[in-house]
Amino acid sequence: MTENLPDHPDWLWAAAEPKRSYDVVIVGGGGHGLATAYYLAKNHGITNVAVLERGWLAGGNMARNTTIIRSNYLWDESAGIYEHALKLWEGLEDDLGYPLLFSQRGVLNLAHSLQDVRDSVRRVHANRLNGVDAEWLEPEQVKELCPIVDVSPDVRYPVLGATYQPRAGIAKHDYVAWGFARAAAAYGVDLIENCEVTGLDVRDGRVTGVRTTRGPIAAGKVALCAAGHSSVVAAMAGVALPLQSHPLQALVSELLEPVHPTVVMSNAVHVYVSQAHKGELVMGAGIDAANSYRQRGAFHIIERQMAAALELFPVFARAHVLRTWGGVVDVTPDASPIVGLTPVDDLYVNCGWGTGGFKATPGVGWCYAHTVAHGEPHPLSAPFSLDRFTTGALVDEHGAAAVAH
């Protein structure tokens, strides 16, 4: 009748007390921070590490995203890191020894205009050359995969087809965070909750430690992983980042009998929807236009989201919104992340994932840990350096969104 959720392990992690110093202090105990800690320990043998979380572990964007995992990005640089992440996802349950409800149910990205079709086909071909599974589907194939999508011409912007990545899917965000937390803690990493970083100590151009609500902590290296607050934290070391922070909302319905076997995304109509394991519809809404650090968006965004959802899925009409919530996303000018070194020695930054950070979790943890361990970028994250904004070598994932005729 109902798909029961798997049991958690009996033990997750112990609350650690901060020590006076660590080799590496990771600021931010979200998915990225925890994954970074895990791969620092596992891949590089660095275990004298603290993960500092100002609230509860993985309580920021990790707890608030719509859990979509895919790697079908347009540009080679993006496909590189997201595909690396997807390959890690494919072995992550075994690696972490934790059920993550990773479900490769495929993702459809719908096209609604001839230009959408061109952009989509372009992405499919780019993906294939990069070894990313991708297909172009005609509307009737979309209907076969997801029968509740309205592919009739009556829709204001009819579905003209879709790209499909079969290996894409969803996972249970909390379990992913806890899986990384548990595995990192098992290596001896200190996971410290309710510990807000209030300052970064910089001496002679080098970071030496952090100040926190639980006292100062010396650090050989400091790795920022504070999505939603990246600008605020980096500013403590005098580092300016090209970020703007905006609320992003999502919502769930009540539990429903299965109707939606895959994940559907539509940029043009602004819908992202999947049906989670328990049966609730999980939907992402749009981003608030104005900068804000309130973890809550404006309601008209939700209303628009519902209108868009019913355009594509008329059967959702009498489903109910049970809960809405918001996170704060850091958005870069080219909609690609910033991962790497900063002008301050031994201070590293990982930020600017916008709406797409969850799917990258293992991939960025892997590359960022390498960057921190070696003091130089991992090849897969190297294109996402801070200095690309000076050279102009952007990884412009907005690019394909340009609309004009």
Partner: protein, 92 residues
Amino acid sequence: MLLIPCPWCGPRDEIEFHYGGQAHVAYPEDPAALSDEEWARYLFFRDNPKGRFAERWSHSAGCRRWFNVVRDTATNEIHAVYRIGEPRPVIA
């Protein structure tokens, strides 16, 4: 849904407005004289404070005028509204 006091039309719902990001970022006097770093700073770097932020809005579904707002990004409270060209007001 913020209630934004347009200096010309009075308080109106947020959906009538278009957001314009940080205020008081002047186009450089002589872009050719800037280094790549300085130009990049103008192109891509904007303040992103958690707290009071001077920002631009345009009443796009109303009078279509641009104006400035000081808003607290932690609470969304609007502290001041003033016209383009006026200095950022000092708020206690």
